[in-house]
């Protein structure tokens, strides 16, 4: 629904050839490590994931526990001391007295969780639907593809609002909303590459061997459509995080007392023009670093997986 919610378009970038069965993982790793930028990305990404996982151990404050917040500490600039506990807020506080450093660490957790879980489900659903559409064709294809059309026409904000209305607010609802929004992109992406693959000789051969439909689809057809997906997925993770932020911006994201990185940015948006730069700037930087790291890795993966591009 946001301006940037469509990335199905990346399908044709995915020109990777099927992985040769004998290409050893080691060689791929070696190729990957040749690119210094990608290595930096990988290190950064690992760091981000570790920070997110161990946030409760690292963070000075539990920003989701209202009892630990003090509104009297609200809006302090970076480096200020708390009026009640004397602790230092290294990145300042928001208007609730929430330590920005802790909020970013916890927010990172939620954002990565929302993005990866929704991505996993969306891929699972989208890939199954797309492969089936391509493989069976006919009625099943039209049914699935019209559902995709419908889905692509339905704005994410409306889906999110409806889910919130039906089941209340929560991280899980945001995940469901994102899955509903995203599966269609994968279905369309996979279908377009699978349609081409399905007409190739090896699939014909599989048919001649009288293999079961599901075996042909998931053991023969699907693996050959995967490399493009991996690439789309890395971009889409960024999209999922941004989309979640957009939902928060429009007032339908995660609960306000448990801010994700996106909600922090959406909140900080209100302070962008005021003097309190830290409320918006730091979560923004954290988000950009995370996404850049993911994409550096993703870009390199794409090249690594494309044997024709190797020297």
């Amino acid at each position: 629904m946001s301006d940037d919610a469509l990335t199905a378009g990346l399908a044709p970038t995915a020109t990777a050839e099927p992985l040769a069965a004998d290409s050893p993982f080691k060689r791929l790793l070696h190729t990957f490590l040749e690119d210094k930028l990608a290595v930096i990305g990988l290190v950064l990404f690992t760091l981000v994931v570790l920070l997110a996982i161990f946030a409760p151990l690292i963070a000075p404050q539990n920003p989701y526990d209202l009892a630990q917040l003090d509104v009297l500490d609200g809006g302090l600039p970076p480096g200020s001391a708390s009026m009640s506990t004397g602790g230092i807020y290294y990145l300042g506080t928001d208007e609730q007295g929430r330590d920005m450093l802790s909020a970013i660490l916890y927010g990172l957790r939620i954002s990565l969780l929302v993005a990866t879980v929704s991505l996993a489900f969306a891929i699972a659903i989208g890939v199954t639907a797309g492969t089936m559409a391509a493989y069976f064709g006919g009625k099943i294809d039209s049914l699935i593809m019209r559902m995709v059309d419908l889905q692509l026409s339905f704005p994410a904000i409306l889906i999110a609002l409806i889910l919130l209305a039906l089941w209340g607010r929560g991280v899980d609802k945001v995940i469901i909303a994102l899955v509903i929004v995203q599966w269609a992109y994968y279905a369309r992406t996979v279908r377009s590459s699978a349609i081409v693959e399905a007409r190739k000789d090896y699939i014909e051969a599989a048919h001649c061997l009288a293999l079961s439909h599901s075996r042909i689809m998931f053991h023969h057809l699907l693996p050959n459509c995967l490399p493009p997906l991996i690439v789309v997925a890395t971009v889409q993770i960024a999209q999922a995080i941004a989309l979640e932020a957009t939902l928060s911006f429009l007032g339908a994201g995660v609960p306000i007392t448990e801010p994700s990185l996106g909600l922090l940015i959406a909140n900080g948006y209100n302070y962008l023009l005021s003097g309190r730069y830290w409320v918006s700037l730091f979560p923004g930087i954290a988000l950009v670093l995370t996404i850049v790291a993911i994409n550096l890795v993703g870009d390199r993966l794409r090249d690594v997986f494309n044997p024709r591009l190797q020297k």
Partner: protein, 325 residues
């Protein structure tokens, strides 16, 4: 071919019906429009009267039946908020959005393609890498945040461009457009750029990947061997081959831009359809939401149909009879 298209249209009608039903149920689930529309000073009798006036006192299925009945007379319903036909309100906003989306698309192509080709031809150069790194930024920033940053920098700090609104418009064939006046153009730059940045990154990446692919093809190697100038190779051989996927994707993207330029239009106070949609959702103006989303379905279905037809034209292995749809 004609049978195929007719069948697609038939299926799309089902998609339209499904959309209408979904919106009816969805809005019903979100809340009661009267609760947000009516003045807080109204008493219970007034609230009941308003509910009846808007036809919301009937059971949902009956409301839907009435909507369908009107639909067959070409009436998509009357806006709860404006008291005017929903389609009329949407179409009033269409030109502003079209103008913005097309400008953004042009920006994305004009800037994106050359950068992408460059990065594709020189993937390991510093320039090529910077282009790619920049394109990552293009889709890592949330749109609303990036929009406000643009305003902050170009409107507030530098004061070069206006912060929002549509500026001076002129009427052409009964439609108000901004792109023909200097003031209108100035107002369009920032929102168009905001809308374009993401697409630009997309175009850069698409073009780069395809350029690299094409460069490996035999005919390019052959052309090089023949001693053709590299300008000619780029212009004739590479561009021709990469434009097809780029155009295909951008067609799809144009649909989504027209339909859902919500965030950009909100941030830049651009009086287009996206802004209307978000306002209507916030006020639960169901007739406008239904009409809007049905229009969106039509746009997206049409574009998808064209794309599918293009696919089959471009790749003979995909036959319509096989795809059948």
């Amino acid at each position: 071919m004609i049978v195929y298209i007719l069948r697609r249209i038939g299926q799309s009608l089902f998609a339209l019906a499904a959309m209408a039903i979904l919106v009816f149920i969805g809005v019903f689930a979100i809340g009661n429009p009267v609760d947000i529309l009516v003045n807080p000073e109204a008493n219970q009798a007034e609230i009941a009267a308003t509910t009846a006036r808007l036809g919301l006192d009937k059971p949902l299925w009956e409301q839907f039946a009435r909507f369908v009945g009107h639909l067959f007379q070409g009436d998509l319903g009357t806006s709860f908020v404006y008291g005017r036909p929903a389609m009329e309100i949407i179409l009033q906003r269409l030109p502003a959005t079209m103008e913005l989306a097309v400008t953004a698309l042009i920006l994305a192509v004009v800037i994106g393609v050359p950068l992408g080709v460059y990065a594709g031809l020189k993937p390991d150069s510093i320039g090529g890498r910077s282009v790619m790194a920049g394109s990552i930024l293009g889709f890592s920033l949330p749109n609303f945040w990036q929009g406000l940053l643009l305003i902050l920098i170009f409107a507030v700090l530098l004061g070069w461009l206006p912060a929002g609104g549509r500026g001076e418009t002129v009427e052409v064939l009964g439609i108000r457009v901004s792109f023909l006046t200097l003031d209108g153009l100035r107002h369009m730059i920032l929102p168009a750029l905001n809308l374009a940045l993401f697409k630009m990154s997309l175009v850069i990446r698409l073009t780069r990947a395809n350029t690299r692919e094409v460069c490996l093809q035999e005919y390019i190697k052959f052309a090089r061997a023949k001693g053709l100038s590299s300008t000619r190779i780029v212009l004739v051989h590479i561009l021709k081959n990469i434009m097809i996927p780029v155009v295909t994707i951008l067609g799809l993207e144009l649909g989504s831009m027209i339909a859902f330029a919500v965030v950009t239009e909100t941030v830049f106070a651009w009086p287009g359809m996206g802004k209307l949609l978000i306002d209507s959702i916030n006020l639960l103006d169901r007739p406008v939401i239904v009409a809007y989303l049905m229009l969106t379905v039509v746009i997206i279905v049409t574009i998808n149909l064209i794309v599918d037809l293009l696919y089959s034209a471009l790749d003979p292995r995909v036959r319509l009879s096989q795809v059948k749809a």
